[in-house]
Symmetry: none
Subunit: 191 residues, 4 copies
DNA sequence: AATGAATGAGTCTTCATTCAT
DNA sequence: GATGAATGAAGACTCATTCAT
């Protein structure tokens, strides 16, 4: 395992435990088991690990999606996409917060688009296939709609998992409403 | 103008210019034209101005909405809502980021929901009236859909104004796609 | 005694004892009896005290000169000037080195001229009086000759006191040669 | 070109550009095109290159003098000596400073005398010949006067080239005054 | 002889907070 | 209430030096 990876992992664990603001480079290097100066051979500052962390995060999202979205019908696929993204947000909520927090604190916010592009690309393809199959409306421009959908799903997941005190019943209703919202938006047949 | 307000305004301007992390109390008091110690008579720490800033932010959003959403038909109203929220995001994007950033850096993230509640409430009522008028589908649960819509609109606005390098043509297409998306989602008549 | 002066005195003592390079800000503040941060309220860096130190040095030179150069005849005055500057260099040799060293290490070297100007002015006046009295040649341009003389005397003093291992006999001969050199240069009557 | 020489040249260029204090071994090895560790095969520390640099410096001074001082009369020779040393100081002023600076930072300051000895010897011989020829006063002790002259000339050159902002007219007058000063000092015929 | 990644002790510098006025 | 000079703990960052290859 190379040092760059060690540092990213150590940073994730430190940021999650102590928060970005309160984490020091010293915390990170201790966890990574490397020397103080070695950190600066790989990253110029505390927050410059953020894009690295974000990549790890998106990799996790994509792994989950590829694993969990397996159906053929668009209807079930939407279900699985929402389920998967909700799951990732729930599971890695601290990671999600710290990425957002870290990105906003730096000049790196413009990198968000490129970090997310694998996710956007993947969803675009899924939409294109559905259009070809005639299961969603043909007027959809996949480039934009993919981004809109990801935004809608993730913001809803954040509302549920990050801001709220969960309640099984309302959470489920909220999620169902999102699914219905998206299905209508895509012009898919209501299930 | 009392000192508390002066401090909040100074904090907003400092945070926007230098970022939350790099802003110091000294920066704030200099802009506010008060003495170092005076700050602590009004706020116990740097991040404790955040709720004050957030209030200002939501007030601006609501003022814009009330002023700009004036039509009768749901179709035009949606147009105006998107237009208004896009405008606010564009104009106050740094403010939005710093609030989010500030909230994630503290224990205050759960307050996001309550900070946004005036906006949610306002949109719920708009939706309820449209349901009554029969211009959108009656199966909509306004509590959830209001939140989903705000999430979809703001995340799209962020994608356009925060992460991207603007291009007139694509920005406009992206926004149109969002409108179409929402209209279908609400079961409104396509314009 | 104000803090700025305390810092300069502490810096002189620290620089002399440990050398400029090996002295830390911590060394200085400890000797000055002030807090770490207080240093930065007065000076932005370690070497920026140097001009302050140089002023102290020139003040000492001037005090000595005024006290020791009391004769009326130019011949004796020259003797006393050389004696005085040699004495100052001998007594404060470490101070002299560290000023030169410190000035060369920074952007402050251009300030040397203005720091030395009291000395130059004083010697110009002495020369002007001698010209009026007809005891040195009238073709002398005092502005330049004052500078040349100071340079000649100090460089000789440095050669003797800083670079050499002293030997009473040669030191004295060296000094006499300098005096003869200057007397002839000024067109003064040889003693 | 062997590595030792490469290092000395790299050190000169780095010291001149960044100053001795701010130059790091890393700066030097990068310029020399060698590896970090290789430096230590040739020099034990940063300042131990200084004597090597000083050699280069005095070699340049002597080369200039031998090339430019070619006349027979003492009067013209003095002119050429001053011209030559002024030229070297102007051209290599940073080099001169960094040597002085480097020497004062270490225990090496006593070496200044021996570094300069070729220059002193050369000037002693020139003076001896002039005494023999009867063109300067016979009471001169060449050992001391050579040192005094070098000191006077170099300190004047420093005053002009290091400390001042040049002005063609005053610089030239300053130099002429120095020449007149020295001619009288040596008891040479005024030109 | 040459390399250059890794080290970690040591320093500079910042800045939230205090408190005498 | 208001001030702002002073504080000093804490953290970022540097860089001479080493050593396995």
């Amino acid at each position: 395992m190379d040092k760059r990876e060690k540092i990213i992992d150590a940073a994730i664990s430190a940021f999650q435990e102590k928060g970005v603001e309160k984490t020091t480079i010293t915390d990170i290097v201790k966890r990574a088991g490397i020397a103080q100066g070695t950190y600066y051979l790989y990253f110029p500052s505390k927050l410059s690990v953020m894009p690295g962390i974000a990549e790890v995060f998106v990799t996790k999202i994509m792994d989950q999606l590829r694993e969990q979205v397996t159906s053929d019908s668009i209807d079930k696929q939407l279900d699985e996409v929402v389920e998967s993204l909700f799951g990732t947000t729930d599971e890695h909520r601290e990671l999600a917060i710290l990425i957002y927090s870290g990105l906003t604190q730096t000049e790196h916010i413009k990198e968000w688009e490129s970090i997310y592009s694998p996710l956007y690309k993947w969803l675009e393809q899924l939409l294109e296939q559905a259009i070809k199959a005639g299961t969603i409306r043909s007027s959809i421009q996949t480039t934009y709609t993919a981004r809109i959908m990801v935004g809608a799903i993730e913001s809803t997941a954040e509302q549920i998992y990050l801001y709220n005190n969960h309640e099984e019943a309302t959470d489920s209703a909220h999620k169902q409403e999102l699914l219905t919202f998206i299905r209508h938006a895509l012009g898919a047949s209501d299930s």
